[in-house]
């Protein structure tokens, strides 16, 4: 896997790589997230957890440009990205995966990853029309990147299979490979372990840690605590669309409010939300 200089922790960027400030998103008057603020430290894996409906997906959609915030802003390396379209955000170095797989079903696994490597190339329409009159160096580079990314997630032998024929576990890994091929600084992972068995989850955890070793910054969204707790260096807990707490995995696990929001006390939590006038989505 090719290392790029910009992906390693940058000395002059000692502050957070990404900063979410007072983020609020209303859907038809209902707040999916409200006043959410947190920072992502460069080169670290941060977990974002919370029960279903706590606003995790909305947060990641806002961060990747699929939604625009009603209030608040997202700063990436000091630049306000909250009103940028998704492809501009990707170009800055933020790439995401999807909870409900969004693979290009009719393309092969390899082609999926090649699309992931889109940002690594420059050739446009004019170059494309020239065909063989144009040197194939860039195309060969992209192929190499895609092969490496597929190999990295362990799908090296499955490149020729159409994406819709892959198992859901393989599909998850392909989403990851696609994101890696873009060589982003920040990867937003939306429940990458959903539907994976224990062995696959362990493998995923290893891959994520090795990405961190390469200097990538990761945001791991999941509602299963175990994976997040084993790999994250800090954890943000969302509940009812708001930040409940932020801390190390140990601190978060010890926090009774987190346990309450997750375990049997769903009722307590729902009642509290109802009192605040936030309806269940």
């Amino acid at each position: 896997m090719a290392q790029s200089g910009s992906a390693t922790v940058d000395a002059k960027c000692a502050g957070p790589l990404l900063s979410v400030q007072g983020l609020t998103k209303l859907f038809g008057g209902v707040a999916a997230v409200s006043q959410v603020s947190f920072d992502l430290a460069p080169g670290k894996l941060t977990g974002l957890i919370g029960p279903n409906g706590s606003g995790k997906s909305t947060t990641i959609n806002l961060m990747s440009g699929l939604h625009r915030p009603t209030r608040g802003a997202i700063y990436y390396r000091g630049e306000n990205i909250s009103n940028l379209p998704p492809h501009r955000i990707a170009r800055l170095g933020i790439v995401r995966t999807f909870q409900l797989l969004r693979l290009f079903g009719d393309l092969s696994a390899f082609e999926n990853v090649l699309v992931g490597a889109h940002l690594r190339g420059k050739n446009g329409f004019a170059a494309a029309c020239l065909g063989p009159l144009k040197p194939r160096t860039e195309e060969q580079q992209l192929h190499q990147i895609a092969r490496d990314a597929l190999e990295f997630v362990g799908l090296g032998g499955r490149g020729e299979i159409k994406a819709r024929l892959l198992t859901s576990g393989e599909g998850r890994l392909l989403e990851l490979a696609r994101a890696i091929a873009a060589d982003p600084e920040l990867i937003l992972l939306d429940e990458p372990a959903a539907g994976l068995n224990t062995a696959e989850t362990t493998l995923l955890a290893e891959k994520l840690l090795s990405l961190v070793d390469r200097g990538k910054t990761l945001l791991l969204v999941d509602h299963h605590m175990s994976l997040v707790m084993s790999v994250a260096s800090s954890v943000i807990v969302l509940a009812g669309g708001q930040v409940l707490t932020i801390g190390t995995p140990q601190e978060v696990q010890a926090d009774p409010r987190v346990v309450e929001s997750y375990l049997g006390s769903g009722e307590v939590y729902r009642r509290r939300r109802a009192k605040r006038g936030v309806s269940e989505l």
């Binding site: 990707a90 969004r102 290009f104 082609e111 494309a128 063989p132």
Partner: protein, 308 residues
Amino acid sequence: MTFAGVLAVIAIPLLSGNGYIVQVASLAAIGAIMAVSLGVLYGHSGQLSFAHAAFYGVGAYTTVVLHTQHGLNFFLSLLVGAGLSGAVAFVVGLPTLRLRGNYLAIATMALQLGISEVFVNAKITGGSVGIFGIVRPTIAGISLESPFAYYVLLVIAAVLVIAVAHFLVHSRVGRGLAAIREDETAAGVLGVDAIWYKVSIFTITAMIAGLAGGLFAYQLEYVSPESFNLDWSIAVLSMVIIGGKKSAIGAVLGAVIVTIVTQLLFSVGELQFLIYGLWIIVIMIFLPDGLISIWQTAGRSTARGTNL
């Protein structure tokens, strides 16, 4: 082997020495250019234009006005015609392709019907009569006046267009377009600028249609509005659907089939459009990847066994 076969098929009309056969083959070559163009737009990129006949018409009239009426160089006239078609596509594509959903199809349908009115009513197009007296050009001392010579030019143009379409599809932007077709949101978060890509490919394919129109005008040697109406857009769409929307070979196959069937059905008048309508429905339902998919599936299962 395959190459020799293709060459033989292309050469048959020339060797036949039969004017009618060369004319049909010429129309098939023009149809192939149109079908490949729409195939790249619809089959590969997932965007639909009902206005390919309109772009074809813009190209035809522009080329004729510039070359025949104002004496501009033939190839330059073709280029300007293609450029003008592209400009129209750009203006229509820009607002519609910002939107999700099939706005382009509706807007191009309106463009097609609206521009047909322009062709019929405008002075520069010669109104419903059209423009006569078109003479095929002489290029680099070679007269293309004979339909046989002009057929060679058409084949060269078709081969070039097919090659460009092939390179385009199998390139970085080609993959971006396929990704947009499959899932525009996922393409976007990977950095593909979907709006720019969609507008670009729509403009490029419209330019190709404009080029085909310019070539067509000199094949037929006159232009009139009925050559550029919605029926022709639909005929091209049915070429793409029948042959196979996912490959250039499919589009060419469709062009040959539809051109020949149209000739055979010429005497039945409107009935041919009943047939277009029916086969579009039947193929959309039962053979969504066109006739070429029968051959491809057969080839795959004999060679490797099915891996499904």
